[in-house]
Symmetry: C2
Subunit: 242 residues, 2 copies
């Protein structure tokens, strides 16, 4: 009997170590992705093509991390057959890595706009918006990862809320840029680069929101995707805690 | 012994039925998504705001399907602990539904552009490109789903290849539209609507490619995401069959 218990404890220790490792791999990937976002924004604002190129070349590291974490998830599902909250964690990780990889893609797109802009000379408009919305979504990515690291549903809800602000600011910025293009048609091409970059930043915000929603799924066991912030907040009230 | 075997057979029959059901739910969701893409394109070309509104309101059905299929996946993982190819199917389904949902989102965005265009009068440019690229990506979605239904890795590879053509056509169309805007600045706002719609169509192509890549993962047990078409084709050669 004692031998069996020891064996069981051993398995369970190993399983916990694997789950911790999985979690730390996601956070590592997240850290790299957040850096990519930061660098992409800086490369655009500072017209730093070298930095932009480095963002584009690091994108394959992120792609490789996605594949390796997905393999890890499949291995744990196959060999450990996790249940309840462990299973939810594996599912959430598998979903979150997809969003992290897409954030990486969008950062690479921002870097591409930085390169194109540097080639054709600065845009006369839009840098303030890039800086402002860029900082908001970079923070959203960081906050979503922190919420994930600490299994903090309330912090995740804040990220979901921020996304609404970003969407609103994005809409205002785009309308202003259209007006500006009409007034100064020579700027069209360069302002379009800014618009594409803003579009990518807005998408990064969406992906950060998705990650925050998986955290809420983890902490509350409820899938709250596609719901309004108000509905989500209701689900996060103490009596609904998983 | 016989009783045990009967019991085992019973479980296995039930499990197989569940897997078939899961697969058919994904294909059902895929069918609806493909319709949404078709309708969104038609609404734009025909300036049919009613059709565009119906695309936007059906989007929530797709969102609900995603959540329900994800729940199904989690239930199967928890209760049946599938292994090998069954596990791969569940993982692929869970990934594919995310892409299907995003395709639905992009279709809704195309429909929004249709509504905005109808409000401000037709765009002087871009309908041919919308029709052409739209038809290509709609076909990609359908072909990816067919490949999924038949576990056909070779058909999936064709979808991956088509995506390269779409990306090229998209690039050409966008450059032409920029030139056109510069020549006729009064058209800026309307041509931007066309550009956003094209961007969404191009994204739909990317998601169809993702689904095709999951099919290759299913049929060959290899994760070929982020690889070149040539590399993928090598993996699909007969000696690499899973």
């Amino acid at each position: 009997m004692i031998d069996k218990d020891v064996h069981k404890q051993h398995i369970s220790k190993k399983f916990n170590a694997e789950m911790d490792e999985l979690k730390s791999h996601v956070l590592e990937m997240g850290g790299l992705v957040e850096q990519q976002v930061q660098k992409a924004i800086t490369s655009l604002i500072d017209a730093d093509t070298q930095l932009a190129e480095s963002v584009r070349s690091s994108d394959k590291d992120i792609n490789n991390m996605e594949i390796s974490i997905d393999e890890e998830c499949a291995r744990i599902l196959a060999l450990r057959q996790p249940a309840a909250s462990d299973l939810r964690l594996v599912i959430a990780v598998s979903k979150a890595t997809t969003d992290l990889e897409r954030i990486g893609d969008e950062a690479a797109k921002v870097a591409l706009q930085a390169i194109e802009l540097t080639e054709q000379g600065e845009s006369p408009k839009g840098y303030i918006e890039i800086r402002h919305i860029g900082e908001s979504v970079r923070k959203m990515v960081g906050d979503a990862l922190d919420a994930f690291a600490r299994f903090d549903g309330d912090a995740a809800l804040q990220v979901v809320k921020s996304d609404k602000n970003v969407d609103r600011e994005y809409g205002t910025a785009m309308r202003e840029l259209v007006t500006f293009m009409m007034e100064d048609p020579r700027s069209i091409s360069r302002v379009l680069n800014i618009m594409w970059a803003l579009r990518s930043l807005e998408r990064i915000g969406d992906h950060a929101r998705n990650i925050a929603e998986y955290v809420i799924y983890l902490t509350h066991g409820k899938d709250i995707r596609h719901r309004s912030v108000k509905k989500i907040a209701e689900h996060l009230s103490p009596e609904n805690k998983a």
